[in-house]
Symmetry: C2
Subunit: 325 residues, 2 copies
Amino acid sequence: MTTLKDIAKHANVSVATVSKYLSLDLAVKKETEARIQAAIKELGYVPNVVAKALKRKETFNVAVIVPKINNLYYSEITSGISQTLGKQHYNLFIYEVDQLNLDEGEILQLMRENMIAGIIFIGLFSDESFKESIRAAVEWEIPVVYANRYISFDGFPLLYPDLVQASKLGTAYLASKGRRRIALVHKRLPDRLLELFAKGYRQAIEEDGEPLLVAIEEGMELSESVIPALAENRIDGVFVLNELSAVYLAKALTKANIRIPEDMAVLSLGNSLISQISTPELTCIDLQNRELGIRSAEIILSQIRKQAFKPVTVLEPSIVERGSV
Amino acid sequence: MTTLKDIAKHANVSVATVSKYLSLDLAVKKETEARIQAAIKELGYVPNVVAKALKRKETFNVAVIVPKINNLYYSEITSGISQTLGKQHYNLFIYEVDQLNLDEGEILQLMRENMIAGIIFIGLFSDESFKESIRAAVEWEIPVVYANRYISFDGFPLLYPDLVQASKLGTAYLASKGRRRIALVHKRLPDRLLELFAKGYRQAIEEDGEPLLVAIEEGMELSESVIPALAENRIDGVFVLNELSAVYLAKALTKANIRIPEDMAVLSLGNSLISQISTPELTCIDLQNRELGIRSAEIILSQIRKQAFKPVTVLEPSIVERGSV
DNA sequence: TTGTATGCGTTATCAA
DNA sequence: TTGATAACGCATACAA
């Protein structure tokens, strides 16, 4: 392993000179520069980031804490993060919490041990314990970002899509296609979030009225069981607040000879590959997952660099038409 | 930040004693132990892994080099890796090469800079440049594993599914369901791999004969264009060697009023979510992606620990029946 | 423009 | 059973 010391000796200068030259905070004579560069080339010098981190008390490693990575929602966000971090020469650690089942204390310990420069928490919004993790990290002054769904702001930057707007957009779109009785189908969402969707619904529908909320479980059979409720209420358009559930519901509807979109319009929340390959392909609200990741990374980097950053970032959803509405 | 020094002072012992005690290579007196433990608790000591790495010249960080992470094939493997590494208290770095477009030199530099303990290369089998990356890493004595498809062994451990067996299994299954004229549909596979599938086909079909090989592009329209060729050859069963292509072909067949499986059996290679949510759901050959990841991680750890490891690991595929054959 | 010296937090060698 | 001390590779305060 070639070190600065070797370079210094080979170039007949001091270690400090080489170090400062490489850190760009020292202008050296043309001739010295040439000798240093020659030494670096000849000896094949590669800087040791670990030593640098120890000295500087700061790494270039950012951790992503995610429930699981083999899921298009999470991996899309993560890919966005990776893209931004890579450009800025930061490394990306991944910790899958579902797999490793780490508690808050263990996560914090891991971060501190490894001198993680910043942490991006994705998801886990149904679990309250993650909030403790974040709080603990904040307490130790580790830059933190939370990206997923709206949660109450609590002293760390938040990023999430505008679900009210998503709901409004979706509902209005269904209405514009002549749908008069629209249901919001959800997969066990917390009330806090359901209320956001209901709000968007109300904004889109001029007449007073509340949406029909239908809870659904994932899977073919479970989706079938929800069809009678839709029929009873003479629903002609569903906005399914979970992409996979939307696909299964579409399957169940087709199986029950309910045509999409003629008899029932199906709108899905989320625009991953699965809406595309569903039969029929599903019109959906795109929540901008990759962008969510990109922006999360930007904010964590701003924090690390002690620059200003927005405490709350709300992403604007958009609609992707595919004919299921 | 609390350091060993602080602990030592607080417990009235030397730094060396604390260090060795914590590394489990020193038995100390019960009383000393109690004092050390008390100090650790009181001061909230967290070991500094970075300093440890510098001293030991070895990190606990493993890098995964992957084309992209937002793809179920890659993320499933990665999740398997994450699972195994996590249990062994190793950290996982992710580098998305498609995103960052790093060349071989840059990858190696990154690995050396960060003192990466081992590298797992996934995929990129169509690209020859990755082989240079691997070779460079091997040259620098960094433990390496390659996981994806069969490539010629070249001095580093390989992991891949048994594609001949997969093809044999699939073909035999199609035949067992009464299919007499079977085509292998592939998405621009290199000849090297096509030959493996042809071999498996031959092993399954007793009579002499070669499979009809049909090249296909991904996407609905492109899949449609392949249907005439299937009709001309009176094909009654297709084994599609790419999961996404299988889904699109199934769509195209349905649209062309060709019933699955009555008129055409469709078998897919790969068992991610998309085969499950396709309409109809696709019977497939499971290539054991998660297991591939788990085993890759095990082998990289063996290398890191200077233990014996298998140079080649071949995974046995299995069939998952869903009624499309 | 360059060099000397110290220390980041840990492990490891040697001695006690 | 314990301690003193020298590295690991680098950055930086201070000198020259």
